[in-house]
């Protein structure tokens, strides 16, 4: 550490962004390393946060290490900005980062922290997406020893993971992984892209925005840098398939609320006993709805 480095004088009892400057510097350095080695699970000294592990502490530490007073933050949980987890994390950021503005709009955010979804609205080069990760290592299902997993990652040895996919095809005629689909980054490391649905995996590929993955409990940070290949692990003759939301007669279901036919839908059980499908990304749904209303009003 630079011996001339001085901590800024504390304004309150907390430093800006809750984490002390040493912690933020360490995380930023690790982020740079993660970007330099796309897909590599870079270890870092995950700090205790004033919330339990599993509530997004990995994603939050990424956010707090990067955020500045001129940033605009959006926090998403399962596509929604107003679920408990998203609200709490957003409030925490507002509390500990004076001057930061928050938003529910994907387009207006400079920094987005998310759990389980990548926003429907395409991200731009000036945006960063921080994903909360429960289990960072895709190899954990085939190899219990972390030491051996490290060697396997280093050597790009994913045959056993592919064997798992082979077994799925043999047993179920299709690959049954719905979330956390193993994805090869920049032609080498295979990552667990966090519990995003298969629908979102293609959004990591050659994305304009930087995608960072933070696992608080497992103390790992990894990255899919902008304009980097991110390809789901597949067989040459069996294409990667995403959720299609087709009805029994093969038609694409529209969102029950906004009518969109190009978004990831959540299946809802209605009190009346039936089922309904609705956009999982609330910001996107609201925007579609507003646009539809505009069209009705304008003519």
């Amino acid at each position: 550490m630079n011996p001339n480095y001085k901590l800024p004088a504390a304004q309150d009892s907390y430093s800006f962004g809750f984490l002390d400057e040493f912690a933020k510097r360490e995380i930023r350095r690790v982020i740079l390393k993660a970007i330099s080695i796309p897909g590599y699970q870079t270890p870092y000294a995950s700090r205790e946060m004033p919330m339990g592990r599993g509530f997004g502490t990995g994603g939050l530490q990424l956010t707090l290490a990067m955020i500045g007073p001129d940033d605009t933050l959006k926090v998403i949980d399962q596509g929604s900005d107003d679920s408990v987890n998203a609200v709490n994390l957003r409030k925490f950021a507002e509390l500990t980062c004076p001057g930061v503005s928050t938003t529910e709009s994907t387009a207006d955010a400079s920094l987005i922290q998310t759990r389980h979804r990548v926003p429907e609205t395409a991200l731009r080069e000036d945006q960063v997406l921080n994903l909360q990760v429960p289990y960072p290592d895709p190899l954990v299902i085939v190899e219990p020893s972390e030491a051996r997993r490290k060697v396997m990652h280093g050597e790009g040895d994913y045959a056993r993971l592919l064997t798992k996919l082979y077994e799925d095809l043999v047993q179920f005629d299709e690959i049954t992984i719905s979330h956390r689909y193993p994805t090869r980054v920049n032609g080498h490391y295979v990552i667990d892209p966090s519990p995003i649905p298969r629908y979102d995996v293609p959004r990591l590929h050659q994305a304009k925005a930087l995608m960072l993955f933070g696992a608080g409990r497992e103390k790992k940070i990894y990255a899919v840098p902008p304009y980097t290949d991110a390809e789901p692990l597949v067989f040459d003759d069996i294409p990667f398939r995403t959720e299609n939301f087709h009805t029994a007669d093969g038609k694409r279901r529209p969102c029950a609320r906004c009518g969109a036919t190009d978004s990831f839908l959540d299946e809802l059980n209605l009190e009346t006993g039936g089922k309904a499908w609705q956009c999982s990304d609330t910001d996107y749904c609201n925007r579609q709805l507003a646009a539809a209303n505009d069209r009705e009003v304008t003519p």
Partner: protein, 276 residues
Amino acid sequence: MKPILEVQGLTRIHGTECPSCLDMTGPEHNTNVCPACGSIVAAANVSFSLQPGEILGIMGESGSGKSTVVKTLYFDQAPTRGKACFRDDTRTHDLFELNSAEQRWLRNHRFGMVYQNPNLGLNFSISAGGNIAERLLMNDLNHYGDIRRRASELLTRTDVMVGRMDESPRQFSGGMQQRVQIAKALATRPPLLFLDEVTTGLDLSVQARILDLILEIQHELDTAMIVVTHDLGVIRLLASRTLVMKHGRVIESGLTDQILEDPQHAYTQQLVASTL
């Protein structure tokens, strides 16, 4: 013809080796445990060469070091010292100087291993076909249809019913498990195959059919093999040359018919006399 494999001074000592380890163990001391430091001399100064397509037998009782030799060559264990050179079409590989990625590459692409215990060679939590698929995937075959085809060809070749390809080998008989292991080992058509007591513990009729299969494969693919066994019958049937090991040392080597009909070492004479 150049040998496919040359082994020189292969030594494997378990424990804190001391200067008397090699002098105070071996057949003449009737032990492989060093009386000075308690280290176990599993194999000492083993040297031999193997021609392409040749079957070499390594014979000895348990604890003689015969399995240690193949396990070090297959990189399951690291030798304490020694040198082994493997030659393929393109170049010579100095086995114990390679890094782990290079060793893994050779293991997956050039070598095959069939263990006495199918647990070591097979993954019982996946199907028989999956076990073969894994090895094909390691060899960068990434086409599901091709993998299925190749796996069923291999299982057919080794007389495993293709209809049971998608079952776990856990449900198979011992003989069938060995057949799946052989199919897996052959998946990449390796020029060198290690067979470690592959028929031990099987019924005689099952043993015979496995040995036939091994010979047929050697004829068809011209695979060089090292066959480790304590069974003189296996040696007689498979190997053209044989090493006899005891307490970690090679005590005798020669043409198999000579070893069996004119054994030189007291131990081999005893062994041959007690079996025939």
